[in-house]
Each structure stands twice: as structure tokens, then as C-alpha cells.
């Protein structure tokens, strides 16, 4: 049975309720929820890959020149006798960054949650282009597998750093990497198309398919963040796609876009890469900020403080994000006058981030805070993202950046933002929406143990890296012992490696908890967190097509502790004047 009903803006929306084959339903699915879950499983796998690479490279730094336990299984071209070779180390560094940025964090934020949440939170049946959505997932999977395959190429996987600075990335003779480097480009080009399809979908869906009453300023902040992120992706990712194709031409058919022979310019790659790369940083943090706003409001049982300034802060970050890319290039040989202007825009972009942190704090102020696992991760995000944001001020200041550029200070900074920030928010989001996705809860005590382990070990791993950076330890070096100024850093590096092993183990613990909960978790109700956004009015898990009847939205997204209502939350499709025990029953009927 397929019926057609008028969508909120008069656009016909197809509802499908007929039974589907297993393959159509779970493999080549066009259901946004299934696609979101496909992204979730795939990205968790890539997250594990990225973590494993990190453990291996940390082993070399902690125990330089010693044989990696089990490393003798690796081919002689990577680790003869288990001793990691410098070129393999470079591949580890490169692929750790690549997998984490492109195949774990970004798709976890956008692929998983934009897909899963947008239609439900704005109150529609599915994405505007369900087939494109499916194509987006399959292109993503193919690109990830190609990237993984590059390890098995002669010469190994790319070793030019995730930033792929030319000419090292464009000259196989210089890097010793051949097909692996080309596969990096092919993979990222395909990834770019996948991201583009996703972005078009999210933007169109949010603009056209909001439920009646879902005005722009009633959108949940998650949707605002994902919407602006999709615009960033639409404008920034194609630049990378074009750049990697040019890079591939330099490697293969003899063009010299980025090679100074015959007039190319290595800095052109950096400008293109960072023109993508800096908006990318915000692609990696804005959705996380959205999740955190949602979870902190829920955990504090209070409306988000300063909803409008949160929205404007997201927009300001997105706009400024396009004019700060040069701060990655202060020491690149770019005109110093440009360094000056990029420094000013970069310092200004700290302001909207500060506003958000203060608004989160103010949301907690006067609340009735429940220490749920998602709330702990969200609060962890605020605490750690603050450190990452503050350390960013050091490198924004051009003279200080002269010293700390390309040192472990930068490594500490990026991990406080992307792990302490994005990944903590992702963990929070996984715990928060797991009951909706799979109809089961993750055990709260087990989740809190995961939080405690991750929080403590994360800080043990990454906080000392600020100190290493102050000592002048350069990024991406295989062994510190060749330098007199790094004579004192080995003990710290060894300690960090032990903590990193623990952090990886806590990640494995999470994976086990996740899969155990899929099958053995306590059944979740419709609205286990007593939350307010529309998805919490649907059964857990929601059916294909989400709604029998499109809901009507009466107010903003975070009506917690409304004085006119006895319970301390009010769903967006509930009116405060008609909330009654009877209504309560209809809302919760799917629970049993």
C-alpha cells in the first residue's frame, strides 16, 4: 500500500507501508533510519580501524624501535620482525587522521544523525531524495573500503599526512608510496560525491518538509547545526574533491598543478585543502554542539539558554569558518600580511564558540540535573571542548604559532576538539538515541563506567601533549632520539602510550557494550529520557515512514519544566493547555 499525502508545504509525500524484502529493507534501503543505522555500524568499524592505527603509532612513540606485540604478522614492508618502519609509521599517522576525520567523526555526526534525526525531528516521513540518500551511503562504503585497501598496495598506504601536502603527496619518488597514494585520492573523490549527495538531501529536506508549525525558530538545535553543516559541506567538500582530482593528475598523467616544475605551486594545494579543511573543522564540531545542546537541556530539565544566540552563533561560526583557512598556513611561506588578516578572523571566530559554552553553562544553572550517561558525555564535551578552544587561541596568535606550529601542542589541540569535543558528543548521542534506534537501553551503570574510563584516560593521553609541544616536539616524527632538544620527552611519551592503550581498551569496552545492548538491553519506552523533540513521540524503533499522520508543532523544542504543566517536559506536538492524562496515554501507547 502506497499512499500519497500532501506534505506540510503542499509537496506530495509518499508513504510506504507494504512489506519489503530483507534486501530492500536492510541492505539497499531508502529508509532514512535504516541508512542512518547502516552509517552507524560502518563508521563504528572505521572508528575501530582509526583507533587501532593510533595504538600502533603510539606504540612506536612509547617504545621506539621495539617490536610491536603481534607485529611480526605484518608484512616485511610494514614492520619486519614487528618493528614498525618509518614509512609504515607515516602511513599510520596519515591513515589514522584520514579514517578518523573522513570515515569516523564526519559520517558519525552527519551520515548517522543527519539521516536518522532530520526527518523525525522536523516531522516528515523521509528524506526529500531517499534514493540519493541510499547512493550516498553506498558511495561512502566504497570510498572507505578503497581507503582501507590502500594498505595492501605496493609501497603501502599514503604517508603524506592526512593534509596531503604537495609535493610529497604528488611525487611518488619522494614518498616511496605509489598506488596507495592514488587510492587515497580516488577514495576521497568518491567520498566527496557521497557527502555532496547527503548535503543536498539534508538541505532540501529541512527547507521543504518541516511539519506544520515547525517554524525556523522552533527547529531543534540539532537540526540547525546539521542544516548549517550541510551548507558548509555543500560549499566546502567539492573544493576538496576538485583538489584531489588535480593531485591525482599530478601523480599519474604528469600535470604540475602543485609541482613547481613547469609553473605549479605547492601552496595552491594548501589553500585548496584548507579552504575545505577549515569549514571541515566546523562540520566536525557544529553537529556535536547541536547534540550537546539537546542533551544538556534534557539532562538539566531546562530550556536551552539563549536559543536564538545559539542559532546565530552557529551561523556566525559557519560564515567565519570560510575566511579563516589561512591560519593553518602562517608558517607556510604565505605573505605575512595575509597572516595578519587571517589572525583577526580566527580570533573573532572564538567569540561564537565562547557564547555557546556560556549558554550551556547557563542552561545548567538553576536546573535539576540528572546524571544520565548522555548528560555526562555532554558535560564532558563542554569541559574538554573548552580546553581545545582555549588552546586554539595560542596558535591563532601568529607570533606564538611560529613556535608551536607543527608541534604536539597542535596534536593536543586537535584531539581536545575532535575527541574531547566531537567524539564525546557522539558517544553522548549514541547513548541518547540508542533507545530510539533499537528500542533498547544501554545499561546506565555500564555507560557511566565507559564515561569515567574515557574521560580520565583521554586527559592522561592528550593533556601532556601540550607539554610536549612546549618542549618543541614536532608532529609526525617517528623517534625523538635524534634531537637534543627532545632528550627529556621519552618518559612522557611512554606514559601517554600506556594511557592510549587503556583508552583503546575503553573503546573496545564500549563496542562490546553497544553490541550486547542491541540484543540484551532493557526494552526502552517511547520516551525514556522524558525529552521534548518530535522523535520521542514515535514508537521505539519508529516504523518505516515514521508517522501515520504528520504531527503539528505548537512551540519551541526545549519546553522543559514549563510552569503550566505538571510533568517537567512538553513534546513539541503537545499543547500545554491540552496536556491531560488522556493525552498522555495516546502518546505512550506504542510503549508496550
Amino acid at each position: 500500500m502506497a499512499t500519497t499525502t500532501a506534505g506540510p508545504t503542499g509537496i506530495p509525500v509518499r508513504e510506504e507501508h507494504h512489506p519489503q524484502s530483507f534486501i530492500r529493507k536492510y541492505i539497499f534501503s531508502t529508509d532514512h533510519k535504516i541508512i542512518g543505522i547502516q552509517f552507524l555500524f560502518t563508521t563504528l568499524f572505521f572508528l575501530l580501524v582509526g583507533g587501532l592505527l593510533a595504538v600502533m603509532l603510539r606504540f612506536q612513540l612509547g617504545f621506539p624501535g621495539e617490536a610491536l606485540p603481534g607485529g611480526s604478522m605484518l608484512p616485511e614492508t610494514m614492520a619486519p620482525g614487528g618493528i614498525i618502519l618509518p614509512e609504515f609509521y607515516n602511513s599510520l599517522v596519515t591513515m589514522h587522521g584520514t579514517f578518523m576525520v573522513f570515515f569516523a567523526i564526519m559520517p558519525l555526526l552527519v551520515g548517522v544523525y543527519a539521516n536518522y534525526l532530520i526527518p523525525m525531528q522536523i516531522g516528515t516521513h523521509d528524506m526529500a531524495f531517499p534514493t540519493l540518500n541510499m547512493a550516498s551511503y553506498w558511495l561512502f562504503l566504497v570510498s572507505g573500503l578503497i581507503m582501507l585497501a590502500s594498505f595492501w598496495m605496493v609501497g603501502g598506504a599514503s604517508g603524506a599526512g592526512w593534509t596531503q601536502y604537495a609535493p610529497l603527496s604528488a611525487t611518488p619518488e619522494a614518498s616511496g608510496v605509489y598506488n596507495g597514494q592514488i587510492l587515497w585520492c580516488i577514495s576521497i573523490a568518491i567520498f566527496g560525491f557521497s557527502s555532496l549527495l547527503g548535503s543536498i538531501n539534508y538541505i532540501t529536506t529541512v527547507i521543504n518538509q518541516r511539519a506544520p508549525g515547525m517554524t525556523w525558530l522552533r527547529l531543534p538545535l540539532v537540526i540547525w547545526a546539521l542544516f548549517i553543516t550541510a551548507i558548509l559541506g555543500l560549499l566546502a567538500v567539492p573544493v576538496l574533491t576538485a583538489a584531489v582530482i588535480m593531485l591525482m593528475f599530478d601523480q599519474t598523467i604528469g600535470t604540475t598543478f602543485f609541482l613547481p616544475t613547469d609553473g605549479g605551486q605547492p601552496l595552491l594545494w594548501q589553500h585548496l585543502f584548507w579552504f575545505f579543511g577549515h569549514p571541515e573543522v566546523y562540520i566536525l564540531i557544529l553537529p556535536a554542539m547541536g547534540f550537546v545542546s539537546e542533551i544538556i537541556s534534557n539532562g538539566s530539565r531546562k530550556p536551552v539558554f539563549g536559543y536564538k544566540s545559539m542559532v546565530f552563533a552557529i551561523m556566525a561560526i559557519a560564515f567565519l569558518g570560510f575566511i579563516v583557512w589561512g591560519h593553518h598556513m602562517f608558517q607556510s611561506g604565505m605573505n605575512p600580511a595575509l597572516g595578519m588578516s587571517f589572525m583577526i578572523t580566527t580570533l573573532i571566530i572564538a567569540v561564537p564558540s565562547a557564547i555557546k559554552v556560556f549558554n550551556w553553562m547557563a542552561t545548567m544553572w538553576g536546573g535539576a540535573i540528572k546524571f544520565t550517561t548522555p548528560m555526562l558525555f555532554a558535560v564532558g564535551f563542554v569541559m574538554l571542548f573548552t580546553i581545545g578552544g582555549l588552546s586554539g587561541i595560542f596558535m591563532a596568535s601568529t607570533p606564538v604559532d611560529i613556535y608551536i606550529h607543527d608541534t604536539y601542542f597542535i596534536v593536543a589541540h586537535i584531539h581536545y576538539v575532535l575527541f574531547g569535543g566531537s567524539l564525546f558528543a557522539i558517544f553522548g548521542a549514541i547513548y541518547y538515541w540508542f533507545p530510539k534506534m533499537f528500542g533498547r537501553m544501554i545499561n546506565e551503570t555500564a555507560g557511566k563506567i565507559h564515561f569515567a574510563l574515557t574521560f580520565v584516560l583521554f586527559n592522561l593521553v592528550f593533556f601532556p601533549m601540550h607539554g610536549l609541544g612546549m618542549e618543541g616536539m614536532m608532529r609526525r616524527i617517528y623517534d625523538t632520539s635524534r634531537y637534543t632538544h627532545l632528550a627529556e620527552v621519552q618518559d612522557t611519551n611512554t606514559m601517554i602510550t600506556w594511557a592510549a592503550l587503556g583508552l583503546f581498551a575503553s573503546g573496545l569496552y564500549f563496542m562490546l557494550l553497544f553490541f550486547w545492548s542491541l540484543f540484551r538491553g532493557k526494552p526502552a519506552g517511547v520516551n525514556p529520557w522524558d525529552a521534548t523533540t518530535l522523535e520521542w513521540s514515535l514508537p521505539s524503533p519508529p516504523k518505516h515512514g515514521n508517522w501515520e499522520e504528520i504531527p503539528t508543532v505548537y512551540h519551541g523544542p526545549y519546553e522543559y519544566s514549563h510552569p503550566d504543566v505538571e510533568k517537567d517536559w512538553l513534546l513539541q506536538n503537545e499543547r500545554p493547555d491540552v496536556v491531560s492524562p488522556a493525552h498522555e496515554v495516546t502518546v505512550r501507547q506504542g510503549e508496550a
Binding site: P167, F358, M364, I369, G467, G472, S561
Partner: protein, 227 residues
Amino acid sequence: MDWSLPLNISTQGVQIDNLFWLIFWLTAIAFVLVEVGVLWFLWRYRAREGHRARYTHGHLGAEIVWTAVPALTMIFLGIYSGRIWAEIRSPDSFPEDALTIDVTAKQFEWNVTYPGADRELGNDDDFTIRNRLEFPANEPIVVRLHSEDVIHSFFIPELRVKQDAVPGMAIPIWFEATEAGEYQIACAELCGNGHYSMRASVIIHEPDAYERWYDEQTGAAQTAAAD
């Protein structure tokens, strides 16, 4: 590792270090404010029986304060940093008549070219030394950076100097050491499988010792003895 910056022996390094510690203290205030605030709120506003959260959507005055204070701090930092940046990197700030040395990076070595007896670079009497940079203290030095193959980065921690060497470009930087000593150039930009091993020694002489060394290299010492 002792949570400090290494010894500084350059004139520019003083300003860089001062700015580093200024930002450190400013961020330390923000850090304590936020972290203590978050922990305090977590404890103070924990869910309790019979306690209901305050129903509020915001406060314009508070939001203006925490927009304006960071904005003003950032503008101050921007202007202050900009002035120091200009003193170090602006083309106008380069010392005139400074001793100029060419440094050419290639996988995985630093080749240092000195002017010959005519004290001018770019002609036949220039001489090149592999992996050793020698220059006098208390005198501004201009280094012109080149690269033959990929991007490298010229980093001398104790001089607080870092600049990428980019193939196809000649990038000048300048610095002045305040005392003699022996240090290292490190490569700070991933440049291939020998990146971690791409270092060269830096020997800073007292000015008269430098002159002796330089004369030895150029052979001027023998000429002087013959007169």
C-alpha cells in the same frame, strides 16, 4: 618534560614567550571559570526531590556580557599579536646589511651556502656545507630558505624560529641570537621516510670566533698571513 618552554636565545623569542605566557594566563582564567563553574553547577543544581528547574529561555544582559568580554579580549590579543608579528615577519622589519645565508633543504639534509670572500651570495666563490649552520651571536642573520624536492620546515626551537621551505620559492626569515652555543635545526614538516632524522647542527659563535671560522673557510686566513 617540565611544562616550560626551552631556553630562549633570540631577540624575537622574548616577545614570543611573553605573548605565550600572556595568552596562558588569560586562557587560564577562562579555563578555571568554565571548569569550576561546570562542576559547581553539576553539584549545586543536581536533581533533588521536590526541586523543579527554573523555566527561563535566556537573559539578554548576560548574553551581551559574555559576547562582549571575549570579543574585546580577542581584539586586544589580535592587535597586540599583530604588532609583534609585523616586527618579526613584515618585509619592512628585515634588518639591512645583515649577514645573509642560503639554506637549501632536500630529503633529508640541510645544505647551507655562505657567501665567499666577497661577502655576496650568488656567485662562484660561495661555499656550501652540509648539515651545519654557523653564524655569529649578537648580529642579525637573514636566512633564505629553499627546497629542492618537497616541503620541509626550518625549526630551531631555542631561537623560536620556524618557517616552511617550499620548492619553487625563496623565503627569507631573520633572527638574532643573544649568545653563543650549539643547537640543532629540526625539520618540522613531514617530508618522507627520513623526516624524523632530518636534523643539522647549529653552531653560534662569538663574533670574533665566527670571523676566524669564516676566514678559515674562505681561505682568507692564508692571504692575510702572506701580507
